[in-house]
Amino acid sequence: MNRRIIIVAAIVLILSFIGIYSLSVLMYRSGKTHVTMPTSSQGAVITINSRVVNSSEIYLKPGKYMVSAIKNGYYEFRKIYEIKDKNINLSIKLSSIPDKTVSESEFSGDFNALKAEYPIISNLPYEDPLYLLDYNIKGSYLNGYLIEIIIISDSAVGRRAALQGIKDLGYNPIDYWITFLNFEVEVK
């Protein structure tokens, strides 16, 4: 008898909870438009009228909204959208801040950490009768830094020798950004 009462009470409780939840969802969504916000970059912080939105889907009343998105290494996205009573897809496209070559004075990272990540720079600049190997630091404080290996040689033999030279120093050239200076690709 008691068991039956407990089961009935549990079912009533569950059904009540489902009913109340469904009702509150319906009330919340009533008169609002379903808005989806696919973002081109994961991890971006999206705000609508300065309020942080934690989901890529939201229900909004018709009206004008300022949508913004920020992420380290990307330009801030800001756009005013007019939400009407039709479901809308707000495409948020973040553009990355281009990396540029930085001088030693502009470099604001940890040089020892950079050296640990790119140990080849301890060996550069490296001069050979056929070529010169050097490096540039590229990037920004927000995007992080990377190394670009510079090869200077005025002959095909020298350019090939430079790539072999990187290997001889104990590094694999395909792991790096490599730029040949004063050189133009002949295949057009």
């Binding site: 095909a156 350019r159 790539l163 990187i166 395909i174 790096y176 002949e186």
Partner: protein
Amino acid sequence: MNIKKISIIVAAIVVLLVGFGLLMAILNAPIEVNVKFTSSYPDTKITLKVPKSKDVEIKGGQTIKLSVGDYWASYSNTDLSKNPFLISIKKTTNDIRLDPGYSAEILDKKMSDEKDSIENKIISIFSSSTYSIETEKLYHIGEWFSGSLTVTQTDPNADPLLGNPDDYDRYYIVFHKDSQNNTWTLVGGPKLILTKPENPTIPIYVLDDINPSS
């Protein structure tokens, strides 16, 4: 009294040792997980080398119980590459998605079938230079192509016999074939070296293979 005491101590030590032994056995027992093997190639069969045991034959779509650890495996299908590869099974592993590539013989055959269409594509893209197309190769299931272009004659009036073959640059190119419309698209090069950071969409096995310093 003394005997009773000693018996109790010995019994306690035995119980402790047995308990410790059991605990160690439980701790060191191999953790087994159910792993489902799926494959992009139909009817894939792989042979798994299990240490201190018989090799295990697995078919695509099969779920088997395996201990956590690393296993060497190789495909048994005649068309697929026989190169052994490592499968790591962790506590959290539920699925292993296999993506086999064709054997070198099949890829060579496919290369001869595709040679004309790829070379025509290269010539249509790089129409302003004179070069020879070399080291042509297909990878995986034939959807990746790498080759090199050597500019042999930049001056049309120059005597080809006077040219120094060592002083020509070799440019590397990579094409990818679209499975929908069967067209080849240039995805890397022409460059003297195709590096990993500059070509994130090209598989590493392709870049490793065409590395000019190797």
